[in-house]
C-alpha cells in the first residue's frame, strides 16, 4: 500500500505520541481518542478479569475435597455466580472489542478516529458503571442464581442482590450496543480512499460481524432483565406459573441473546488470529473471502440456535430437532476458518514468535472446544451431559482456550505498537507454557467428570469424582501463575522495555505504517490504499524490482 496525496489538510505539529499527549488524569478520563479509550478498556477488563479469576480460585479450592468444607453452600453459590457474571459480562464480551478493537480499527482503515468518539467514551463509562454496580452487588451480599438467572429461583425464591446485579448488567448492555453501532458506522463510512470492503483486514471483518451481534442481540437480554426485575420488584408474573407465566420463556429469551453472545466472545479472537498468522507466516490469509464471509455467517447463523440450551428443559422434541440441525450448520464456518488458517501456514515464511504461539494454541484448543460443541449439539449425547461438567469443560475450552488465547496473542502482537516498547521474551515463553499446560490440566478433566455424571454448580460431590477435581484445581493454580506473569512483564516493559520501532515484526498493515506509539491523529496524512491486505508477496516483489533498477530507487 502506498501513501499518496492527502485528502484533508495535514495535521499541524503535535506531541510525538498519543501517550504523551496530555498527562493529567483529566486528559485520560475525558479523552476522545480511540487509542486512549482502548487503554481505558484494557485497564477495566483486566481489573474485572482478576476479580473473576479470584472467584474461580475460590471455587477450585472448595472443589479439592468432596465435602463442602471450605465455605458454606450459600457462599459457594455466590462465588460461582460472581465468577460467571464478572467473566462473561465484564471480561469476555468487552475485552477484545473494547481494547484492541477500539485501538486498531481506525488505524487499520486509515482514519483518525471512530465515527462517534464521545459515544465511545460514554461506552467505557457505561461499562465501568455497570461493572462497579455489579461488583458492589456481588461483593456486598452477593447473588446466588448462577450467571443465567433462571426464574423462579431468581425471581421469587432467592433473597440475594438480583436487582442490583441485573441493573449493572443492563447498563453494561448499553455499552455493548453503543460500541457495536460505533464500529459498524465507522467501518461503513470512514474507510480511507481505496479501502474497499475486500481490502479490509480480517480483523475489521471479524469486528464488524461482532458489532452486528452486539446491536441485534443485546437489546433482547436487556428486555429480559427488565422483565426479571419487574417480576422481582412488582410480581408481574411473566415467568411465574402461579400467575399464568412460564419459567421456560425466560430461558428462551435469555438464550436468544446469550448464545449469539458467545460469538461476540469468539469472533474478535478469531479476528486477532487472522492478523497474527498472516504477519508471522508473511502470507495473505488463505481464502480471504471465505474467512470474511464465514465471520458474517457465524454472526447470522448464531441467532438461530439458542434452543440447544433447552433440549431437556421442557422444549418439544421437534424444536430440539430443528435447533440441533441449525447448530450443526453453525459449526461449518468455524471449520472453514480453521482450515484456511492452517493453509495460510502452507508455503509461508514462518517465524515462531510469541504471538504466533498463542495463535497456534488457539487453533488446537478451539478445535477441541468447537468439536465438543458439536457433541453438545448432538441430541442423544446432550441429554446425558447437559448441566454437567462436560458443558463447563466445553465452554472453557472455547472461552479460555479460544478467546483468551486470542486476547493474549493480540496483546503480545500489538503491545509494541500501543506502547512503543518490547517486552521480555523469555518470561513471555514461560507464561505461555504455563497457560497452555495449566489450561489443559484444568479443563480436560472436567470433560471427563461431566461424562461420569458430575453436575454443575455443585458445592460438594461424591468421592469418586475427587481425583479429577484435584487435577483440575492443580491446573488452575498453574494457569493463574501463567495469567499473572504477563501483567508483570508488560508493566515492566513500560519502564525497561527496548524501543519497539514502527514495525518490529516486519508486518504489513496500515497500523504498522505509523509510529509506535501512534500520534494522536494516527497518521500525518490520511493514507490511500491500492492493494489487498497482507500484501507480503506483492510488496516483496516490488522491493526486489526496485533494488534491481537503481535509477528508480529513492
Amino acid at each position: 500500500m502506498s501513501s499518496s496525496h492527502a485528502t484533508t489538510a495535514p495535521v499541524p505539529s503535535t506531541p510525538s505520541s498519543f501517550l504523551s499527549d496530555g498527562h493529567s488524569l483529566k486528559s485520560w478520563l475525558l479523552t476522545l481518542d480511540h487509542k486512549r479509550i482502548g487503554i481505558l478498556y484494557l485497564l477495566g477488563v483486566s481489573f474485572f478479569f482478576l476479580l473473576g479469576g479470584l472467584f474461580a480460585m475460590l471455587v477450585r479450592l472448595e472443589l479439592l475435597t468432596p465435602a463442602g468444607d471450605l465455605m458454606l453452600p450459600d457462599t459457594y453459590n455466590r462465588v460461582f455466580t460472581g465468577h460467571g457474571v464478572m467473566m462473561v459480562f465484564f471480561f469476555l464480551i468487552p475485552a477484545i472489542p473494547g481494547s484492541l478493537g477500539n485501538f486498531l480499527i481506525p488505524l487499520m482503515i486509515g482514519t483518525r478516529d471512530v465515527a462517534f468518539p464521545r459515544l465511545n467514551l460514554l461506552s467505557w463509562y457505561l461499562f465501568m458503571a455497570g461493572g462497579i454496580l455489579t461488583l458492589f452487588g456481588v461483593i456486598n451480599g452477593g447473588v446466588d442464581t448462577g450467571w443465567t438467572f433462571y426464574p423462579p429461583y431468581s425471581s421469587t425464591y432467592t433473597t440475594t442482590n438480583v436487582m442490583i446485579v441485573g441493573i449493572g448488567v443492563f447498563i453494561n448492555g448499553f455499552s455493548s450496543i453503543l460500541t457495536g453501532v460505533n464500529f459498524m458506522v465507522t467501518i461503513h463510512r470512514m474507510r480511507c480512499p481505496g479501502m474497499t470492503w475486500f481490502r479490509l483486514p480480517l480483523f475489521v471483518w471479524g469486528h464488524y460481524a461482532t458489532a452486528l451481534i452486539m446491536v441485534l442481540g443485546t437489546p433482547v437480554v436487556a428486555i429480559t432483565l427488565v422483565l426479571l426485575i419487574l417480576e422481582r420488584a412488582f410480581h408481574f408474573g411473566i415467568f411465574d406459573p402461579a400467575r399464568g407465566g412460564d419459567p421456560v420463556l425466560f430461558q428462551h429469551l435469555f438464550w436468544f441473546y446469550s448464545h449469539p453472545a458467545v460469538y461476540i466472545m469468539i469472533l474478535p479472537s478469531m479476528a486477532v488470529i487472522s492478523e497474527i498468522i498472516a504477519a508471522f507466516a508473511r502470507k495473505r490469509i488463505f481464502g480471504y473471502h471465505f474467512v470474511a464471509f464465514a465471520s458474517i455467517a457465524i454472526a447470522v447463523l448464531g441467532f438461530f440456535v439458542w434452543g440447544h440450551h433447552l433440549y431437556v428443559s421442557g422444549q418439544s422434541v421437534y424444536a430440539g430437532t430443528i435447533f440441533s440441525l441449525l447448530t450443526m450448520l453453525v459449526a461449518i464456518p468455524s471449520a472453514i476458518k480453521v482450515f484456511n488458517w492452517a493453509f495460510t501456514l502452507y508455503q509461508g515464511s514462518i517465524a515462531l514468535e510469541m504471538p504466533l504461539f498463542y495463535a497456534l494454541g488457539f487453533i488446537g484448543l478451539f478445535a477441541i472446544g468447537g468439536l465438543t460443541g458439536v457433541a453438545l449439539a448432538t441430541l442423544g449425547f446432550d441429554v446425558h451431559v447437559h448441566d454437567t461438567y462436560f458443558v463447563v469443560g466445553h465452554f472453557h475450552y472455547v472461552m479460555v482456550g479460544g478467546t483468551i488465547m486470542g486476547y493474549l496473542g493480540g496483546l503480545h502482537f500489538w503491545w509494541p505498537k500501543i506502547t512503543g516498547r518490547l517486552y521480555n521474551q523469555f518470561w513471555s515463553y514461560v507464561s505461555a507454557l504455563l497457560v497452555f499446560v495449566g489450561f489443559n490440566l484444568t479443563f480436560f478433566p472436567q470433560l471427563l467428570l461431566g461424562y461420569m455424571g458430575m453436575p454443575r454448580r455443585y458445592h460438594s460431590y461424591p468421592e469418586e469424582f475427587q481425583v479429577l477435581n484435584v487435577l483440575s484445581t492443580a491446573g488452575a493454580s498453574v494457569l493463574a501463575v501463567g495469567f499473572i506473569l504477563p501483567l508483570c512483564y508488560f508493566l515492566l516493559s513500560l519502564r525497561r522495555g527496548a524501543p519497539a520501532g514502527d514495525n518490529p515484526w516486519g508486518a504489513r498493515g496500515l497500523e504498522w505504517e505509523t509510529a509506535s506509539p501512534p500520534p494522536t491523529a494516527n497518521f500525518a496524512e490520511i493514507p490511500s490504499v491500492t492493494r489487498e491486505p497482507y500484501d507480503y508477496y506483492e510488496h516483496a516483489q516490488e522491493q526486489a524490482a526496485a533494488a534491481v533498477r537503481p535509477s528508480s530507487a529513492h
Binding site: 421469587t156 406459573p241 450443526m328 517465524a351 461424562y451 455424571g453
Partner: protein, 337 residues
C-alpha cells in the same frame, strides 16, 4: 459390557449403550480432527520456518477445490452426527406404551417419589429390573432436574408444567440420582439413589415398609423420610437449629422476643415454619402442612422430644434410616424435660 471403561458410568439402562456408542463416535471424530489439524499446523510450521530475515510466503492463497472440500466433508460429518444423535434422542424421548408411570415431585431440596402402587419414597427410587419405567414429574417450587448418569437420562422438573423421562433398567445395583439444575442453597445435596432390584426383591420391598430399627419408632422414620435431617443435623452448623437437647429450652427469635420450645411451638414450626424463626437462621424451611397426618405429626413430636433425653450420633445419612444410640435412662444427658 463386561469391562468398565474408565470415565464412563455403568450402563444400567437398555439405551445407555446407544448413548455410549454415539459418544465414542463423537470422541473419535473430535480426536481425529484435532490431531489432523494439530499435525498440519506443526508440520507446516516446521517445514516452512523462516530461513532469512526478508523471506516472505508464497502467493498460493486460494483454492476453490480446497474450500469446497473442507466445507462439504465437515458438513456431511455433522449431518451424519445430527442424524445419529436424533435417532438416539427419539429413543430416549419415546417411552413404550407398556411403561409404568411413577410420580416424582421435586422441591428444595428433596425428591419425593410415589410408586404406582402408592408407596412413597424420599430421595430413593426402587425399580424392578427390566420394567420400562416412566417418571412423571413436577416441581413444587423452582426448576430442578432429575438426572441418573447410569441410565444416561435426565429431564428438567419445572413448576407449572409436567415433564417426563423414561428408562428400562438393565442392571441391578444402586446408582446416583442428582439434581442437575441449580436450585439454591442445598442443590448439591439434592441427591439420592436409584435402586434397581430383581423383580422378586422389588415386590418384597413394596410389600413391607422398612421396619423401624430402634425405639425412636415411627417418628424417627418420618424424620428421615421427610429429610428433616437435611437441615436439622445432629451437629450445629446446619441450615436449621440442631434439635437434640432443644425441647424445653427458651430460644431467641429473629425479630426479637423468645419462646419456650414446647409441643405447640414444635407443631407450629412444622406446619407454619416462618411464623417464629429462631434467631440466626434464615426462613428456609418448607411447610409440611397437608403432608402429615395428625398421627404422623404426633409421632414426629415424640421423636423430637426424645432427642432431648439422649445423644444422637451423626444422623445425616438418609439411606438407610439412621440408627442412633438407643436411649439409656441410666446414662441420659442433656436437658431433661
Amino acid at each position: 459390557m463386561n469391562f468398565q471403561i474408565p470415565f464412563v458410568p455403568v450402563q444400567a439402562s437398555e439405551f445407555a449403550g446407544d448413548v455410549d456408542r454415539l459418544t465414542f463416535f463423537l470422541v473419535g471424530m473430535t480426536t481425529v480432527f484435532t490431531v489432523l489439524i494439530c499435525v498440519m499446523i506443526v508440520v507446516f510450521t516446521v517445514k516452512y520456518r523462516r530461513r532469512s530475515a526478508d523471506e516472505v510466503g508464497s502467493s498460493f492463497e486460494n483454492s476453490a477445490l480446497l474450500e469446497i472440500t473442507w466445507t462439504v466433508i465437515p458438513l456431511l460429518i455433522v449431518l451424519f452426527t445430527f442424524g445419529w444423535g436424533l435417532k438416539v434422542f427419539f429413543r430416549l424421548s419415546r417411552p413404550p406404551a407398556s411403561a409404568v408411570n411413577y410420580y416424582v415431585s421435586g422441591k428444595q431440596w428433596m425428591w419425593k417419589i410415589q410408586h404406582p402402587t402408592g408407596q412413597r419414597e424420599i430421595n430413593e427410587l426402587h425399580v424392578p429390573l427390566g420394567q420400562p419405567t416412566r417418571l412423571v414429574m413436577n416441581s413444587e417450587d423452582v426448576i430442578h432436574s432429575f438426572f441418573v448418569p447410569a441410565f444416561r437420562v435426565k429431564a428438567d422438573v419445572v413448576p407449572g408444567r409436567t415433564t417426563s423421562l423414561w428408562f428400562t433398567p438393565s442392571k441391578t445395583g444402586r446408582y446416583h440420582l442428582f439434581c442437575t439444575e441449580y436450585c439454591g442453597t442445598e442443590h448439591s445435596k439434592m441427591i439420592g439413589t436409584v435402586v434397581v432390584q430383581e423383580p422378586d426383591d422389588y415386590q418384597a420391598w413394596l410389600a413391607g415398609a422398612p421396619a423401624p430399627k430402634s425405639p425412636g419408632g415411627a417418628g424417627e422414620l418420618l424424620f428421615a423420610q421427610y429429610a428433616c435431617d437435611t437441615c436439622h443435623r445432629a451437629e450445629p452448623g446446619g441450615r436449621g437449629p440442631a434439635l437434640s437437647g432443644i425441647f424445653g429450652t427458651e430460644v431467641a427469635l429473629a425479630g426479637g422476643g423468645t419462646v419456650i420450645v414446647d409441643d405447640a411451638y414444635l407443631r407450629e414450626s412444622i406446619l407454619t415454619p416462618t411464623a417464629k424463626i429462631v434467631q440466626g437462621y434464615e426462613p428456609l424451611m418448607p411447610t409440611f402442612q397437608g403432608q402429615l397426618s395428625d398421627e404422623a405429626l404426633a409421632q414426629l413430636l415424640t421423636y423430637i422430644k426424645s432427642l432431648s433425653s439422649m445423644r444422637v450420633a451423626a444422623a445425616t445419612a438418609r439411606l438407610p434410616a439412621p440408627s442412633p444410640v438407643p436411649p439409656n435412662p441410666a446414662t441420659s444427658q442433656g436437658i431433661a424435660r
